[in-house]
Symmetry: D2
Subunit: 400 residues, 4 copies
Amino acid sequence: MDFAHDSRTVELIAVVQAFLDEEVYPAEPVLRAELAATPGVWSEPAVVQRLRVSARERGLWNLFLPGAGGAGLSNLQYAPLAELSGRSIRLAPAAMNCAAPDTGNMELLAEFATEAQKAEWLVPLLAAEIRSSFCMTEPDVASSDATNIATSIVREGDEYVVTGRKWWSTGAMNPDAALLIIMGKTDPCAERHRQQSMILVPRNTPGVTVVRPLTVFGYDDREHGGHAEIVFDHVRVPLANLLGAEGAGFAMAQARLGPGRIHHCMRAIGMAERALELMRTRAASRVAFGRPLAEQGVVREWAADARVQLESLRLLVLKTAWLMDSVGNRAAMTEIQAIKITVPTAVERILDHAIQLFGGAGVSDDTPLAEMFAAARTLRLADGPDEVHRMSLGRAELSR
Amino acid sequence: MDFAHDSRTVELIAVVQAFLDEEVYPAEPVLRAELAATPGVWSEPAVVQRLRVSARERGLWNLFLPGAGGAGLSNLQYAPLAELSGRSIRLAPAAMNCAAPDTGNMELLAEFATEAQKAEWLVPLLAAEIRSSFCMTEPDVASSDATNIATSIVREGDEYVVTGRKWWSTGAMNPDAALLIIMGKTDPCAERHRQQSMILVPRNTPGVTVVRPLTVFGYDDREHGGHAEIVFDHVRVPLANLLGAEGAGFAMAQARLGPGRIHHCMRAIGMAERALELMRTRAASRVAFGRPLAEQGVVREWAADARVQLESLRLLVLKTAWLMDSVGNRAAMTEIQAIKITVPTAVERILDHAIQLFGGAGVSDDTPLAEMFAAARTLRLADGPDEVHRMSLGRAELSR
Amino acid sequence: MDFAHDSRTVELIAVVQAFLDEEVYPAEPVLRAELAATPGVWSEPAVVQRLRVSARERGLWNLFLPGAGGAGLSNLQYAPLAELSGRSIRLAPAAMNCAAPDTGNMELLAEFATEAQKAEWLVPLLAAEIRSSFCMTEPDVASSDATNIATSIVREGDEYVVTGRKWWSTGAMNPDAALLIIMGKTDPCAERHRQQSMILVPRNTPGVTVVRPLTVFGYDDREHGGHAEIVFDHVRVPLANLLGAEGAGFAMAQARLGPGRIHHCMRAIGMAERALELMRTRAASRVAFGRPLAEQGVVREWAADARVQLESLRLLVLKTAWLMDSVGNRAAMTEIQAIKITVPTAVERILDHAIQLFGGAGVSDDTPLAEMFAAARTLRLADGPDEVHRMSLGRAELSR
Amino acid sequence: MDFAHDSRTVELIAVVQAFLDEEVYPAEPVLRAELAATPGVWSEPAVVQRLRVSARERGLWNLFLPGAGGAGLSNLQYAPLAELSGRSIRLAPAAMNCAAPDTGNMELLAEFATEAQKAEWLVPLLAAEIRSSFCMTEPDVASSDATNIATSIVREGDEYVVTGRKWWSTGAMNPDAALLIIMGKTDPCAERHRQQSMILVPRNTPGVTVVRPLTVFGYDDREHGGHAEIVFDHVRVPLANLLGAEGAGFAMAQARLGPGRIHHCMRAIGMAERALELMRTRAASRVAFGRPLAEQGVVREWAADARVQLESLRLLVLKTAWLMDSVGNRAAMTEIQAIKITVPTAVERILDHAIQLFGGAGVSDDTPLAEMFAAARTLRLADGPDEVHRMSLGRAELSR
């Protein structure tokens, strides 16, 4: 047992840290200004595109992807880098081409796509020339139960016909999100987890209507393409657009979600560390009732609890990454569920304390705290609400 | 001891309930549409003004104000009505002319203003012809400690000169917020709680600059005039604009905050009841893993905990109102602090569970949950962060 | 709505308070010494019997019982008196003949017994000449589900034959517990809630074997007769010993538990108030790191949270009592469940904080804190674990 | 980074596990019976002595001690073994000569004693021929603040004279606890952390009076020598009995407490794993409302939360051990504090849930749960209450 990072990881941590300090943090107010100056524009902000050039030059590119096209890092090596990127959640992941949902989509394509599909979609995604969205959640059903999915993918001759309504298609408001990966049912009569398939639908296919953007608390998340409600009205694509085999949709979704969850958790820890850093500064400088906030008991309690939580949860995330690397995603299922249900909650609590310490500035846009809170809060219900995973984990524990 | 409402209260509860059912709830989507159609407009929405006519006809007007000009209700009688108004927090309080910050400002004027001041400001406020804002919080200091206030009110000849920077001046983005009540220091050398005074400043006085709106978790709260940052640069008003005596500012602020806090708590309970009602509907209709959500254990736990919390906290709020009526606001200080630090936290937790039950719809604008969450969250830091009140209450308890 | 006690209650509060101050608190070390001097003795301590004489003279006798034989108080009037008795939980309730399980047994007899049964058992119980036990819980089944009860009550000729094993028969180690009230099944084939009956069994009936005492966190609770495991091996009693009708056992148990639960909650609040009083003294006198504990933040937080919890929960208990008086125990079911699942948990937390403040003295017998903790902890699982009631309450709330 | 144990650790885990399964668990009822049969006897139970022979044969001896006389294990290697020993907390640590307070005393002697002191005390302690106690806490002061210590150690000629009152001297009720290590002040005027010294006092020295045993909740902890209150009335020992240098007492206490805390945390995790194992068995076999408890939501939540907590906290403990091994106890101070304030609390919560699942059996002695609860609860205030460490950790975090 050894708790030290290997040397490549130590080096990359320093490179990411330098990138943050030198370029990303200074770009945060630039992003804010650019968004304010371009109301209603859903394309990627220019500042993101500018940061990408630099990230790529620094070798911080596609770090999330283990195999060909990626940086060749293990999950354990990527983990602390993803954490750092979470410290500037609106800019750093996108700048390093490591932002959801594109990462999950690239993983799906890397693992399951045909060569032709890879050439058409994976290559430009890896180069950040296009963006993509993953269309799974539906407004009318509890999507945490995959058998509920109502979107149909019906084979008619040499085409598949997609019909349904999706929402929370993150990134899909961005007109450059050229690719939509849709989860639907090809065979509603098959065994429970063999009914679903995935299909690749270009965003500009006739029958695809992006109905409206959704907000998260009051945020539209325009900087990363927002969240769209989309109607698919008899959308026709060639048979070659099927991703993987018919009936493999559920298994592929599970495969996609494992790494997705750990990435989310890593970044969430980074958000909390950023919040804690802001708390330190605030607590040292703000005076109330004759003493700096840093000397007041409740602030120390918050700081102590945050540190303890972050240390223990980071270790759990790292061990999960190590398990994924050493025994595989499926064998790490318990740990993936464990971090899924604990990290966002813990991070949300730390953010809440930081907001409280900042008062009005904490809920406004003068700090990144409120928007990070919205992001962490959303993780508790994204990819299935925590309660579903908690039940599943509890059942497994009781039947060990 | 008797836990039944008196007959007048029972009657008024029915009237408010009917108003909600017949007019307010149906107006909620109308408000949403109107706001969407008028970006950047900070005036009061037409739908609010329309509801006001009806509220007034129904006798639901200025219910919050005990004496002349008000409805003559005790705090205990007003409490359940305020709670009901919280169920449609963006519309009902404003429609009944019972919305903060105007309520607190009207209370201040009713209690401390000269006849001339009343004629100029209180009369039109009671008629909802103008709106107002209360300018207390400052960006540069911890305003929970009143001695920190930096805004100066300096007497020069027959004028006072006001200089300072305020923020979180709720309602002040509304161009019809004709009156600003400013808290500042007239004598920085006086005893700690005698340094502050309040002064009435018309919003259109030279030197008043509304710098920018602030957001709360992404919301601009346009429907009630938002929250402004305002600079006062040597703003001159006549001596007659002083509210109350020099040095009485702190005491008047305390007097204002007592009823303000209890009103906030009443409405917050109403928000939670609304959320619980939404949960009931959702839990009955939504199916996951073969059973309605209402049959799943964790949802029942949430509902049980919510009901228990609401029943006990409502009683505490009602008792606080009874104490204010029977022994006065000052003698009810412990109870006011008690509800200030517990109700918003409990309500926030109920809202959080409701959001979780609704999934994506919960964080979006498709339900009122996310915006109610933002409102409840803000109460934990408004009028001094909870932590300050908790310390004060704890100190009192230990020295009983 | 009125939050003031009526005049009789105010008077009785003063009488009970005087009794506590003048006789009960001083008797606490006497009880401790007597128990230490009489190892293995399960009879009622002499100090309890001595206090009874005084309690009776002061008119503090059978306060819990509403009708004939009792003090004629309503639940609302009894509530604050029961709370006070909880401040010295091992002595005061017993001294006033208001201690479980005798109270519940007397209520059962008062409501359901024949005149002959009353003459034989209720009269001496009201006079505290004998003690009693209630035998419901069984070691082998989850007794929270009444259909699980395995003890059989079989009619054979002019006798009932009782066979089964019970435990947690509180008080039954006391040889003076002359009466055992047993819950068993007379008809296992009847409708779910009509299978159970109750029967009166003198403790000295052949076939009754008191197997062993049980401990609660190491305590044997000798001062009130401990908790026994009892085997009933073909115990024969006359038909006249049946309490109420055959099949009415479940309904009678429910009738018994309603008041029982509210009494437990009242006394538990008294325990917490006692703890808070001890905390105040300790916090004022104990110095660490140069300051009294009373000036340290976390102690203030504990005191504040305790005060808020106690104020709100006391109101909920009082309202429950008022409902029981005005609309009946059955209509107050939701409130009874609500206090059952919240009061002990809240009290336990306050006791935990008090223990922490006292350090080693807190977990030892040098303060009453540890034994009160054990008592409060037990309430969370007595009469059905909280979780069962929480589910039931949640189900009701979701289907309102 | 590597999360796998080394091969020696893996081997030893298997040996300890076999020892538990084959001898320790079966001895638990034997211990219970022996204690019941020998009331008032404070010597070590015969069953413990018997297990020791076997433990020593299996090579499970003095595993806690890194250097000479010990097993030569690192903290990281010892950690999982200590955890396993915690599964049978009353027997396994004592059987392997790895029980507090002897472990800490042996560490002190190994590090700071003279050769003569080692020969006299360390050698028989390592052979388990005698037992020992550590006398630090005093009834009259807050011992978490070392400057409060009132016991005096005064040099008079060629003797030290010890005067003071100690309590919570664990193990000291055992007449075989031949050695008492006392913390007192040799120089009350020295710098804050240089006033204290430690001295070795044979238990049978004139002037030493063991006043009384203390209980923890209702437990006397007789099987490991209980907890004593001891008066030292001008107790005279030779100068050679000073441990280390004058004024080094505080530093030595700190050195002693670091490993002590991590050992406590390891064993506490073992207690929780034992509880979880018991929960699994209970949940599978117990039926209520027609379904095994294992299928009821709240039980799954408890199991899930327990698993997540234990996985993350175990990693934090292991990392702490690794830091102690690699950078030293002082550099691991933050982590030691972190586990000190989180592990016992988390373990207590798991035990509480297990107790709830077992109902009456959980609070009685029919399961080890209640006594483990008492042990875990005590850890929250032993060696300084958690609150002191939380403040210290928070201060450090805010000033990073």
